[in-house]
């Protein structure tokens, strides 16, 4: 079997076999992260999610947000629903927690940038 690694822009083509639901004989990865990605992709795929939430009192209307860690791929739309139900007031600091334990994943939604309050 073959997949494209998405860990970095290099995008290695990785070959592997599956045995008992796990990836084995992994080749083609340029770094150890490619192997870890392939193993996770076969067993329990995860993704980082980025989106925006409305912000009041800043110079722009949306605050970019990002998951604190990759979330299970199957939870992406539940996570998005919580993000859609959230809004915030400026000021915000980069890395500030916007949602705790999003969709029960144990992962946080963080502010991806700082936005000052506009006077």
């Amino acid at each position: 079997m073959e997949l494209t690694c998405i860990v970095c822009p290099r995008g290695c083509t990785i070959n592997y076999d599956v045995e008992n639901g796990e990836a084995i004989n992994i080749t083609g990865n340029a770094c150890p992260r490619g192997k870890a990605y392939t193993e996770a992709e076969i067993k329990a795929p995860t993704r980082m999610v980025t989106s925006t939430v409305p912000i009041r009192g800043a110079h722009c209307h949306q605050l970019p947000v990002i998951t604190s860690a990759p979330i299970p791929k199957g939870s992406i739309f539940e996570v998005m629903e919580e993000i859609h139900n959230t809004s915030i007031e400026a000021p915000v600091k980069m890395g500030q927690v916007i949602i705790e334990n999003v969709a029960g994943t144990g992962i946080q939604i963080l502010a991806a940038r700082s936005l000052n309050k506009e006077s």
Binding site: L3, P9, M94, A112
Partner: protein, 416 residues
């Protein structure tokens, strides 16, 4: 007239990197001119992650990457004027600006051009059919969604498989829209493979290679997009039409360096990159005029833009300190299979330990070699499992090789 030692036009990733490099090397009389309300440029709307793997060994979102450099510039005390548009730039390095204080002329000793790029529009690709609402360039749509918070459509089709189009396919899906497909004129994608996987495959969005939009219908709002398969001459094949009922069409059909100011200043452009011709210090044919980032050639990775901005900054420092010797080098040439090579000239082959060359292939290759030649003589060969036009390639040559080249350096692809 205000006099400034070095003016940087554009406060995106290239401009900030150049300014930081200048300041760190003792050039204090600097000015960054930014047309937007804040620095960071296009990164501020690129909310997806994957930026900074080379610079920070981390995967940051675009705004976070921008903020790190904006903070560094602030800590260094680099003067930045936002909401300021440069309306003209002249060969004597005088710059006309317009902002809330009105019109002003600034005289600089050195200038770094860092204006970024523009999207190709529907007019430039001669898209057929009607002209309804709901047809946007992908980057404009990205701004509307990520900064302005507009919902731009519910059923969407995308023409062009450039990275912004792919990223927007996922973004629109996450925002609750249905993305019916992406059509790409070429038989291969123009985006990074990882974006095909994480933006299209993850959400079961079909990619129609060798297809293009052949009709647009709807008034006042877009209702239908027709795509057709194309033959090897990129001509639509009759009978292959597919119709999609959509209210939104995004165009991700290429980026072009924004050199309006440069051309008006009388500096000619390289027909292939659509940017100016530069040497290894990102310096144009006019001494003291430098360019970096997407205004020079369109990059795939912001990390490379930052590195190039730094290089231009370093060049400007050496120019301002009078450290650059007389130009005495060679030109580079895009050989077989290569669309362009940057820099176009090496003017100071014995100044640095090595020079890095960037280039792109014209079409995809598997198991090919990149061959670097001094005229007809081979000086370096690199085997490549895969080469794609969407992925910029680099080769570094040491001083020992550079000083032996007297006429031209050729980079070409050799198939196995």
């Amino acid at each position: 007239m205000r006099k400034v030692t070095c003016v940087i036009i554009g406060g995106g990733s290239a401009g900030l990197a150049a300014a930081i490099e200048l300041k760190k090397n003792g050039i204090d009389d600097l000015l960054v001119l930014e047309k937007g309300p804040e620095v960071g440029g296009i990164l501020n709307q690129c909310i997806h992650n994957g930026f900074g793997l080379h610079e920070f060994k981390e995967e940051l979102s675009g705004p976070a990457y921008a903020e790190r450099f904006a903070l560094q510039a602030e800590e260094l005390g680099i003067p930045i004027e936002c909401n300021t548009t440069v309306t003209a730039f002249y060969p004597d390095k005088s710059i006309e600006v317009s902002n809330k204080n009105g019109y002003e002329v600034i005289q600089a000793d050195a200038v770094v051009l860092a204006m970024g790029c523009q999207e190709r529009t529907s007019g430039q690709i001669q898209i057929p059919g009607m002209r309804p609402q709901g047809v946007y360039t992908a980057g404009t749509a990205q701004r509307y969604v990520n900064i302005d918070g507009y919902q731009i459509g519910k059923r969407c089709f995308i023409l062009g498989s450039g990275d912004i189009g792919l990223i927007m396919a996922r973004r629109m899906t996450l925002e609750g829209a249905k993305v019916l497909g992406v059509a790409e004129l070429m038989p291969y994608s123009n985006g990074l493979q990882r974006n095909i996987v994480q933006c299209l495959k993850d959400y079961d969005i079909p990619l129609y290679l060798s297809h293009t939009v052949t009709n647009i219908e709807g008034y006042p709002r877009l209702q239908k997009v027709t795509i057709s398969e194309v033959d090897e001459n990129r001509q639509p094949i009759k009978g292959s039409e597919k119709v999609f009922e959509v209210d939104t069409l995004l165009l991700s059909v290429g980026l072009v360096p924004d050199n309006t100011l440069t051309v008006e200043a009388g500096i000619s452009l390289d027909a292939r990159t659509r940017g100016i011709e530069v040497n290894e210090y990102c310096e144009s044919i006019m001494p003291g005029v430098f360019a970096a980032g997407n205004v020079l050639h369109v990059h795939d990775l912001v990390d490379y833009v930052t590195a190039e901005g730094r290089k231009a900054g370093r060049g400007a420092v050496r120019y301002l300190k009078g450290e650059l010797p007389e130009r005495n080098g060679f030109v580079t040439k895009a050989g077989n299979g290569i669309s362009y090579v940057l820099p176009q000239r090496v003017d100071y082959p014995s100044e640095d330990e090595s020079v890095e060359f960037s280039f792109r292939v014209r079409s995809p290759y598997k198991n090919a070699s990149i061959v670097v030649k001094n005229g007809n003589e081979e000086v370096k060969r690199i085997k490549k499992l895969a080469l794609l036009p969407a992925e910029m390639e680099k080769v570094i040559l040491p001083k020992e090789v550079l000083t032996t080249i007297h006429d031209e350096l050729v980079i070409e692809v050799e198939e196995a």
